[in-house]
Amino acid sequence: MSVMEFLREYDQSLLIALYEHLRLVGIALLIAAMIGIPLGIRIARRERIAGATLFLLSAIQTIPNIALFGLMIPILAMINRGIGPFPATVAMVLYALLPLTRNSYVAIREVPASALDAARGMGMTERQILLRVALPLAAPGIIAGVRIAAGMSIGVAAIAAYIGAGGLGLFIVRGIQTTWNMMTIAGAAGIALLALVVELLLGWAERALRPRGMRGEEIR
C-alpha cells in the first residue's frame, strides 16, 4: 500500500486521532498553566518554598511516563476513573507543571530591580507593578515554559494510547501490534509534525509578546 493510498484509506481516523491528541494536550496544558504559572509567580519571592516546590516537581518529572500511568491507574481506580483520558490528563498535568512553574519563577525573578523601583517610585500599587511591569517583562520566559510543556505533553500523550486515551499514539500501538510499519510511521510522523507546528507557533508568540522596549536585544 502506497503512502497516498494509506492516507486516503485512513484520513478519517487520522483526523479523529489528531483531534483527540490535541484535546488531550490542550486540556492538560490549560489546567497545568492555571496551576503552574501562578505558582511560579507566587514562589518567586520565597526562596525556601521555591526550592522545595521545584525539587518535588522535578522528582515527579523524573518518573518514567508509563510508570506514572502504572502508579496512577490503581489510585484513580478508587474513584472509578482508572482508564481513559482522565488518568492520562492527570499525568500530563503533573509532568507539565515543572517547566511552567520553573520558567515563570525564573522569568519573574529576572525582572530588573530597576524597573520595579521605577514603578514603585511612580506610585504604583503592588498589584499594578505585577500586572503592568513584572508580568509583561516576564511574558517571553513564561511562554517559553508553555512551549517546553507543550512539546513534552505531545510526546506523553502518545503513550497515553496504551491506557485507552486515544490520540495519534493509537496508530503507533496498532502498528506495533500488527508489525505494520506504515501504521507506526503515520502515528510517529503525525506526532512529530504536530510537535513541530506547535513549537513554531509558540516560538512566534514568544517573540511577539516581548515588550517593545526589549525588542532587538536578544534574551539568552
Binding site: 518514567p64 502508579l71 502498528g175 510517529a188
Partner: protein, 214 residues
C-alpha cells in the same frame, strides 16, 4: 494491599530479573551513547563545524520531537524484535542530550583559559584534554544525567518490542487490569529513575564545585 505484598513475594525473583534486564539495556545504550555523543559535541564545538552547526542542531531538535515509543516501533521495522533494536533505539535517543550538552559545555569554556594554555605551549589535544574537557565536565555530566533518565523511561517501553525490562510488569498489569502487577513494575522503574537522577546530580554538583575552586 495484601494482594500487592503477596504478588511481590511471589514474583520477587522475576522482578529482580526484569530489573537486571532494564539496567542492562539502559547501561549498554548509555555506554555507547556517551562516547559517541561526546565526540559529536567536540566535533560540533570545533570552529570548522560552524557552517553545518545550525543545520545539525535543527535535525537533532527534530529528532527529539519524535516520541520514544515511535523510535522503538520503527527500530523493529529495521532490526526485528528483542533487546538489540531496543538498545539501538535508546542509544539514538540518548545521544542527543549528551551531544548538545557537550557542545554547550565546550563553548562555555572561558576564552582566557584556552589562551593561557596555548601560551604555555600546549597543543590542541592537550588543551582539549587538560583544559576544555575538565571545565566542560559539569555540562557533560548534566547531559548524561538527562540521557540516563530518558533511557530509563524509554526502557520501560522496550517491553513492547520484546526486550523485557520492568515494563513487562506494567504492560501485563494494564492488559490484564492487575493493579499489583502495574505497581510491581512502576515502583521499581520510578525508583530506578529517581536514584540515577539523584546520583548523577551529586556528581554534577561536585564537579561544579571543583570547577569553581580551580
Amino acid at each position: 494491599m495484601s494482594d500487592f505484598t503477596g504478588y511481590i513475594a511471589e514474583n520477587i525473583g522475576m522482578i529482580g530479573l526484569r530489573l537486571a534486564e532494564h539496567v542492562g539495556i539502559v547501561g549498554l545504550a548509555l555506554a555507547i551513547a556517551a562516547p559517541v555523543g561526546l565526540l559529536a559535541g567536540i566535533a560540533l564545538a570545533d570552529e570548522r563545524a560552524r557552517g553545518v552547526r545550525g543545520a545539525i542542531f535543527y535535525i537533532l531538535g527534530l529528532g527529539q520531537t519524535v516520541p520514544s515509543l515511535a523510535i522503538l516501533a520503527l527500530a523493529v521495522g529495521v532490526l526485528g524484535v528483542g533487546w538489540v533494536p531496543a538498545t539501538v533505539a535508546l542509544l539514538l535517543y540518548a545521544v542527543i542530550p549528551i551531544a548538545r550538552n557537550s557542545y554547550t559545555g565546550l563553548r562555555a569554556v572561558p576564552e582566557p583559559a584556552v589562551d593561557a594554555a596555548r601560551g604555555m605551549g600546549m597543543d590542541r589535544w592537550g588543551i582539549l584534554r587538560q583544559v576544555e574537557l575538565p571545565l566542560a565536565a559539569p555540562y557533560i555530566i548534566a547531559g548524561l544525567r538527562t540521557a540516563t533518565v530518558f533511557a530509563i523511561s524509554a526502557g520501560a517501553l522496550a517491553s513492547l518490542i520484546g526486550a523485557g525490562g520492568l515494563g513487562d510488569f506494567i504492560f501485563t498489569g494494564i492488559a490484564l487490569y492487575k493493579p499489583e502487577a502495574m505497581l510491581a513494575g512502576a515502583i521499581p522503574t520510578a525508583m530506578l529513575a529517581l536514584a540515577a537522577d539523584w546520583g548523577l546530580g551529586r556528581i554534577e554538583k561536585r564537579m561544579g564545585r571543583w570547577r569553581r575552586t580551580t
